[in-house]
């Protein structure tokens, strides 16, 4: 079927056959628009609705961003962020090591697993925020108690997920490892760990969220440095905009950490997602 074109004008190629770059750019712009328009609208709405605020406890968004920028630039917040993130990283690392090692050991034998699971579930149900006064009250407001609290709160999801992941290792793969007399270290590293990795990383994602919460609570409760301390101090000295800014920053950090972890997960588990498993 011949298409009519205006006399003399070159026919416009249909979208599907335009050069790849231009099509990808359009796709990207559409993706960005649909995903972010609401965020921009919400931000603008907050900005304009709070601009004329007379309530001292609800400062305008412009002011919040202004003091946040100021404190970021003069290095005050950067020090606090560094302290907070260091605690989080240390606590999570401890939780990772203990959780994965413990999970592998417990998950391998059915008896151990069935015995420990009710106990782990009970300890895990203790509200993590309730541990904070006990640990900090016993050990003080230094860095160690905070790292310990975070580790204590974050180890359970990783432990439980590792147990589940180890338990789900293909029975055939297990038998094959025995038949081929694969040494234990290689067995744990290449068979068990690789197979359980998707589950373990799912548990780490949950622990990340818990860790951020516990870290903030611990610093709000008793600290002399850190983002939580910054928020509390600002609100106690009636620097309202600063405390809002600190809370926003904590939320942003939590969100960015989550995104970074998702990116890490998609790279590490590329083989898993490619195989079509969910």
């Amino acid at each position: 079927m011949t298409s009519q074109t205006t006399a003399g004008a070159p026919p416009r190629k249909p979208a599907a056959t335009r050069p790849g770059n231009s099509r990808q750019i359009t796709k990207f712009i559409r993706w960005a628009f649909t995903h972010f328009w609401l965020v921009i609208v919400a931000f603008a709405a907050w900005w304009f609705l709070s601009a004329g605020s007379t309530n001292i406890f609800v400062p305008p968004l412009s002011r919040i961003l202004e003091v946040l920028w100021r404190d970021l630039m003069n290095g005050v917040i950067l020090g606090h962020i560094g302290y907070t993130l260091t605690n989080l990283a240390l606590g999570l690392s401890i939780a990772l090591i203990v959780g994965i090692l413990g999970g592998i050991l417990i998950g391998e034998r059915a008896v151990v697993r069935e015995t420990s699971e009710p106990i782990i579930h009970f300890i895990r149900s203790i509200p993590q925020a309730a541990l904070v006064p006990l640990v900090i009250g016993a050990f003080g407001i230094g860095m160690g108690p905070k790292v310990m609290t975070i580790a204590l709160a974050c180890v359970w999801p990783i432990l439980l997920n590792t147990i589940d992941g180890v338990r789900a290792v293909d029975a055939t793969a297990r038998s094959m490892s025995r038949v081929y007399r694969i040494p234990k270290t290689l067995y744990f590293r290449r068979v068990v760990l690789s197979s359980a990795l998707p589950q373990i990383l799912a548990g780490v994602r949950v622990s990340l969220a818990i860790g951020v919460t516990v870290m903030v609570v611990a610093e709000l409760f008793g600290a002399d440095r850190g983002l939580g301390y910054y928020i509390l101090n600002s609100s106690a000295t009636f620097k309202i905009a600063e405390s809002w800014g600190g809370a926003l920053l904590v939320g942003l950090i939590g969100y960015l950490l989550n995104l970074a972890f998702l990116a890490f997960e998609s790279v590490t588990l590329r083989w898993y997602f490619a195989s079509g498993s969910k």
């Binding site: 925020a129 809370a247 939320g251």
Partner: protein
């Protein structure tokens, strides 16, 4: 290939011999109790050997504190304060989240528009807002409930969106062919299909509700279990602090267990297709 036929009595003999030869395992509950007793013994030993900080209470002290709490009406009052705030906030959050989630989830444009905001809300540590919220709302039961709502909304809404996304388009088409009215469509087609995911979200947020309620009490000294723990710790009554902690954990564990049981019963129809 030679067929080794054995008569029935011989087979029965072999089976019973195999059963006698296999090692008998202790039933799991007995093992669990044994492990718990061992752990308590280990704890007490560490206390006697002064390997733990000196203020750590021994097992017997914690036990007597637990019993003392159970008979004191003040404890039940603070338990009620925590639990009622958590429960009220949880219910409100679930209702709001299911409504919003079903609305958002049924439309792909709405899903894409809200995905960034929902992700941000989900990863936001709600307890970080406490200093700000205290300034705005003071230290009251209402403030606790609002914080619980703010925290519990996100897991449920995200799970609801996931659940309503997954409905089979074929089912929707069939329902439309039969000119199903919109209300029936929602309650009998969309909602039940999303229910397994919603149930998971509801269960997660129940655990979060108690955590946030206790967390708010710890940080803002609003009356409740969290406040009792902080007061006990400040008054160096570690056995009472541990006893309160025990009950907080017991309650959270019981709620999670009950919800899991309820989910298994109510969603039995969902699993029937799997077998």
């Amino acid at each position: 290939m030679s067929a080794t036929m054995q008569s029935t009595p011989e087979l029965r003999e072999q089976i019973s011999q195999r059963k006698k030869a296999a090692p008998r395992r202790l039933p799991v509950p007995a093992l669990v109790i044994a492990v718990i007793l061992l752990m308590l013994l280990g704890w007490q030993t560490l206390v006697w050997l002064h390997l733990l900080p000196t203020m750590t209470p021994g097992v017997l002290e914690v036990f007597s504190a637990i019993i003392a709490l159970v008979v004191s009406p003040a404890f039940w009052m603070s338990l009620w304060q925590s639990v009622s705030a958590a429960f009220t906030g949880w219910i409100i959050a679930c209702v709001l989240a299911i409504v919003v989630g079903m609305l958002v989830g049924s439309n792909s444009f709405a899903r894409q528009s809200t995905s960034v905001l929902l992700d941000f809300g989900r990863s936001f540590p709600t307890l970080a807002l406490i200093p700000v919220v205290i300034l705005l709302l003071g230290t009251s039961q209402q403030m606790k409930i609002i914080m619980v709502v703010l925290a519990c909304f996100w897991p449920v809404v995200i799970q609801t969106v996931q659940g309503s996304k997954r409905i089979d388009p074929l089912v929707i088409d069939v329902a439309r062919t039969y000119r199903t009215p919109p209300s029936l469509m929602f309650f009998r087609v969309r909602l039940p299909s999303a229910l397994p995911f919603i149930a998971t979200g509801v269960r997660i947020s129940a655990a979060m509700a108690i955590l946030v309620a206790v967390g708010v009490e710890v940080l803002s000294q609003a009356p409740g279990l969290g406040r009792q723990i902080t007061l006990a710790q400040q008054g160096q009554n570690w056995d009472i602090a541990f006893a309160n902690l025990f009950f907080a954990g017991l309650f959270g564990w019981a709620v999670t267990l009950l919800l899991a049981k309820a989910e298994r019963r109510l969603l039995r129809w969902n699993r029937l297709g799997d077998e």
